[in-house]
Symmetry: C2
Subunit: 230 residues, 2 copies
Amino acid sequence: MSAAAVSTCAVAVDVALLTIRDERLQLLLVEPDAPAVAGRWALPGRRVRDDEGLDATAHRALDELASIQAPDAHLQQLRTYGDLTRDPGGRVVSVAYLALTPTSEDPVDHKRARFWNVSDIGTERGPELAYDHDRIIHDAVERARSKLEYTALATAFVEPPFTLGELRRVYEAVWGVALDPANFRRKVVSTADFVVEAEGLAPPGPEGGRPAKRYRPGTAHRLHPAMLRP
Amino acid sequence: MSAAAVSTCAVAVDVALLTIRDERLQLLLVEPDAPAVAGRWALPGRRVRDDEGLDATAHRALDELASIQAPDAHLQQLRTYGDLTRDPGGRVVSVAYLALTPTSEDPVDHKRARFWNVSDIGTERGPELAYDHDRIIHDAVERARSKLEYTALATAFVEPPFTLGELRRVYEAVWGVALDPANFRRKVVSTADFVVEAEGLAPPGPEGGRPAKRYRPGTAHRLHPAMLRP
DNA sequence: TCAATAGTGTCTTTTAGACATTATATG
DNA sequence: CATATAATGTCTAAAAGACACTATTGA
């Protein structure tokens, strides 16, 4: 094999971490060090070390770049981006991850990391993005929207035990639509192993309302039948 | 950064090529060169060259290892496998692809490549598998089964123009179930942009039957509503 | 003719959606 | 009391599934 075809290249992991804050879908972005992309925002990413697996790199990227330790966060691969020209600094094959966490009360404890409303990204209210991260973010949001339909992924956005109102607001935030609370409840509880009832009742909000039953994630990963988008 | 953490490693592409032959779902496997896995079968795979994209590596693997030139084959990423110990010859990060082709009449023109019934893989009638390819194959088949439900992927298994009988046999082979021809037809033609009618009629098979209308793939990628598994 | 496949019609069951009603909280 | 949210009930429309029936071929 010739030297021009050396089949070893830089491998990185980029993480698209989504969460629900203020009833909106939000995404974590950081300001990278690389001077080539100064002033732009990027997904937290790190090069893969040869003594760690890809999942470990994803966790390390969140920890080092945004001080987020989320060992229990839902983490799954999104896809791998390997275009020759995607990084101006040289060829980098990047394994993108999709991470979902329950609402964190406070912004991340880090000066160069913040959450952005997903609906603002790509508009003048949103960040300038580095590399091909606009594409990765688009894919990540689409994946989340789609997986909410046929998997139990929505439970990764809420801290158990949760109420069905909280779960419904996840769907509403990710899909950007309003759902009928009565029909939503009926569908969720009739979907096998989606949620199981927990003990006690959740106190109502500041404006009153009947206390809600609590639930926990069930054993199902795929939903039968699916929760189809309206 | 220390020498022990050099963040460059071998990147490969492995392709799980699925097709329908003899009304069964079949998978292409090859006998690899590596002595460490002699006697075992593997997905066709090649190291990524630094002057080619990942898709190009996938096509090259099919060409070089199985003499399959399939520029029109449906090719999509499956996921990336990066466990530290998955290759006994050293760390290799492997981007797995899922490829779908219409039925090819003849076996591949290559001594060290052949198709296997997916239902035989993992049994005594099936091949011994190298590396972690049993896991990749499992993921590939599951992905294909799942994507048949909510995307128009099934049309990648048939050569246009096709009949709805041919399309139904794709679903039956991949899912391993029998479907009602009448209800299947009604569902397909009522799903927006799944298929569009083509000209002419297909001649019946050797045992007779009414000639069937021909169809071509429509513009839809996602199906609304989905074709849910029974 | 029969057997086989394509395509249509019809009926029943199930599910989705709209929306009214009841229950239990806050102010 | 009014208002807000949770939970249930009811009705209608749409979809899924079972299956009879007609249409057109080969043998």
